[in-house]
Amino acid sequence: MLKEGAIESRLVAGPLVVTTWPRSFLLPPHSRGKLLRDFNQSTVVVGHGYASFQANRRSLISFSDDVSLLVVLIDTNPFFWSTSSSSLNFHQFVSHVLVFLDLIVRLSQLNQIVVIATGHNTCDYIYDSSLDTDQVTGEGELPALYSFVLQRLEEFVDKDEKLGAKQEGLSEKRASSLLSGSLSMALCYIQRVFRSGPLHPQPRILCLQGSPDGSEQYVSIMNAIFSAQRSMVPIDCCYVGSHNSAFLQQASYITGGVYVKPQHLEGLYQYLATVFAVDLHSRSFLQLPRPAGVDFRASCFCHKTTIDMGYVCSVCLSIFCKHHDKCSTCGLVFGKVQSDAASDRKRKVPES
């Protein structure tokens, strides 16, 4: 029943019941652990001798230039997955991603994977291939990697839900996930890898995102992008949502990563394997998808419309589309020396 290079997942899709907190976007409400059992019944590519790969991994000490550390940020935002009308539901998405992770591990014994989940109320580490505690030897048909990740994902979704239960229902239709949190955690982890010594794999970040951009996270995401640019860590993105994500397009452009919005989501694994499995050194030999057009225009603070030409406050750099007398962000009046109240509050004696 095991076919090379093909995925057939016969997961049972639970009914999608959308309440203020979409409870059953993962699985029917009466069964816990069903995700794991459902997955067991699927036919997924499994190589032989997987366990032996784990054992041999640490005996090699030479790092060639195509060894990579891949940090995968998986979007588990239930507000997106329960309402997505595309042909991909969360089960299928996870199955594509798991096979992709397996592929990365098998491309080189020194490759490392870290999986971080981006939820609606929190973010957390799911899997770290270099940790001893995560090296579970599994028995049965499924490799240890799959069962471990699935179990941790379930626990994470439960935790995410519990944290969200304390709040009242969200009124906004486009609920975003906490992308800035997981990006920051990924970058801190990569800094730790840089500190570990002269021999380390080349790190990159892969964002599997479907939720729309949250405008309140703009500053934090841009901070993370500039920090990634400084550390020369590319941020790739495979966007499975409906409209393009401007933040992630900018992230990929600025850091030198690849942004792909797959047109046929049933074949997500193929996109992942052909575009994102390539290590950084080999990318110079391949023609990867180029962005069609990255929109760098700014949006004005008053109407949130994108503008071609605007006015920028010289103190706080807020953008306006028309000439104003007063800056709404920093409260300063334009064109004249500050009023007494403002200068008294902010006045300080220059230190010599």
Binding site: Q167, G181, C188, S220, R230, A298, C316, G335, P350
Partner: protein, 424 residues
Amino acid sequence: MNNSEKKRMNGEAEEENEEDVEDEGRDAWERTYTDERSWEALEEDESGLLQPIDNKAIYHSQYRRRLQSLSATSAASRIQKGLIRFLCVVVDLSKAAGEMDFKPSRMAVIAKHVEAFIREFFDQNPLSQIGLVIIKDGVAQSLTELGGSPEAHIKALMGKLGCAGDSSLQNALELVHDTLHKIPSYGHREVLILYSALSTCDPGDIMETIQKCKKAKLRCSVIGLSAEMFVCKHLCQETGGSYMVALDEGHFKELLLEHAPPPPALAEFAIANLIKMGFPQRAAEGSIAICSCHREAKVGEGYICPRCKARVCELPTECRFCGLTLVSSPHLARSYHHLFPIEPFTEVSARQLELSRVASKTCFSCRESLLTPGTNKAGPCAACTKCKQYFCLDCDIYIHESLHNCPGCESRRITPAAASVTMS
């Protein structure tokens, strides 16, 4: 007077005085070998390999002291920072710059670090401009005009490294004053003088020039490489800049890079203005146009000025034909972290960490164990005041110096109701 008299006059006899008697004939660099003996700090582990020196704690305490001093100078309320800066860097290339107390010579060290400074400056202040001035043979010359492209400045500086003659502070200040007088009122005018000489050879009254600069609201800072001079100190005091003297190469680099982030702005120094800026779109892939900077035909890959439709090659820049400042939103976003800084983390002693009820003692962001390696005891760490998560010392430094986001605060969602409760 001889050394024994010096010792008596000092009052408290410190240990170093005894060694001073012997080291009278030695230079400062030789004294670092006799005093510090850095080779004794090396240790070997059981297999004979050298163990890395654990100066993590020292590095972190230095970092924290720097952070405390920075937060002490800026008040609790958000202070304005001068984000649009016009900085003139004055490099003293007089005979004193050929001295060899900085290896290989002061001039080489200055050039190397000024290059790093220029790159860091444009990284942190994308909307600002730098101009280079050199002092040679008692005359000040303007090496490059005020511009926003780092490569042009670096190339010009590296081509003109030769030292001769006297140094003249007044001529430099006059030149800088004329250059910076013409810039618009919303920009912050700054001067950074890298002074190696011990004297200045001026044609007129330098105090008058200093008053002229003060009236023009130039903020002059000086980094001295030889010794403290009164005229530099007076200049910095009058104009509100900072005067520091570098002790060695590492210290010089640190002092220089301190001028890269925007300084706190006094309210009366710059007038808030609305600056008209354009946000150009990228030209279509296959389009051919003559670019306005190189005057040659180019294919694709450029930006189109929204007002006059001229093609420019890179941003940020000023359109050559209509004079509109062209930027892209990431350039503005690069400065937002100065406006929304994160609070410094509080230090958590090992004892407090052990007493806390955290299940797994790992850093929240990088999952590194917070226990001292090899033992089961907790090591020092830092905690965020808002989200109460624990972070290791290295993550603390990375978060505050480069990332400017607290991962703990970003990983939780605060509803408006909860936010108003915490803010009150």
